[in-house]
């Protein structure tokens, strides 16, 4: 194959919007969880557990985790795009990043709903 510079993948806008939307979710969750902790003042493990056993907090925490992983995906992909030039290696790193993040999402769910 000839080695020509090829661009024009026609994506990026959705990721750009998603990066901003997920950042908002994370910011709102951070404010919320800080407020909850300040109000509840959990002193021991049981109190912490009680906070996260609450259905809404579970839901919000999981949403936060998903936002974090999607945000991290875009950021990591950008890193690989900037610094890793060989296409094969970059593709491998993309796949590994996706696998790791999907795994983390499952792990987050299992932690939250095991409580």
């Amino acid at each position: 194959m000839v080695n020509r510079i090829v661009v024009g993948a026609h994506y990026g806008l959705k990721d750009w919007i998603a990066q901003r939307a997920t950042a908002v979710v994370m910011a709102v969750y951070t404010a919320l969880i800080v407020a909850v902790i300040l109000v509840a003042r959990p002193a021991d493990f049981e109190a912490w557990r009680a906070i996260f056993a609450h259905g809404f907090i579970k839901f919000a925490s999981f949403l936060f985790a998903l936002s974090l992983f999607y945000h991290a995906w875009i950021g990591m992909r950008d890193l690989w795009m900037d610094y890793i030039k060989p296409t094969g290696l970059r593709l491998a790193l993309h796949v590994l990043t996706i696998l790791a993040l999907v795994g983390y999402a499952g792990w987050a769910a299992s932690i939250l709903w095991r409580l």
Binding site: I5, V7, G8, A9, H10, Y11, G12, L13, K14, D15, W16, I17, D78, M81, D82, Y83
Partner: protein, 236 residues
Amino acid sequence: MTKRTVQFSIYRYDPDKDERPYMQDISVELDSTDRKLLDALTKLKALDDGISYRRSCREGVCGSDAMNINGKNGLACLTDIDSLKQPIVLRPLPGLPVIRDLIVDMTQFFKQYHSIKPYLINNDPAPERERLQSPEDREELNGLYECILCACCSTSCPSFWWNPDKFVGPAGLLAAYRFLADTRDQATNERLDNLEDPYRLFRCHTIMNCVDVCPKGLNPTKAIGKIKEMMVKRAI
């Protein structure tokens, strides 16, 4: 102001003679009328005629004498000598191949500029005199058309350093928005299609080095934001 001596440290590299680039320490006596860095470079050239740099209009219009001055890109002809800390360190624009001393190969930069089709696309038959715009529509082009393509912005942008072959860069994107914003242009969709790409447009992470260095006081980051806004409007 009286005569004064100014210290310089200048990047020198002549690929025909030098194995690798080196910094040359040199000082020059300036007259009271020498106010801009380019005046000092002219005096330096008289001392050592091997020192190579580009220059033309000497008044910030042609964009030839862009260089890295004390670590920040700028035009030699617009920079006051007395505002600079000595020794004044002069290097070529970062990120582009050096041809000799302060002269860089701008091919990549202009390739990106050409890729956004920097001309009006309008398929209607040309009117007898000119294509008119309302004063309000014309207003939108202010802060865009003034770009002199000196490359100070693109060569201060890390995204352009890492992907100069794929990322259009702040100068090219400012020019792209100049035509997207032009009500006489009819190729808005094609232009947006051309830019909707993770490399070409979305390598910009809004760090605003471009705004910081632009010798004409333009704001490529704002223009890039408006391109993204147009894309959002088109897609959502």
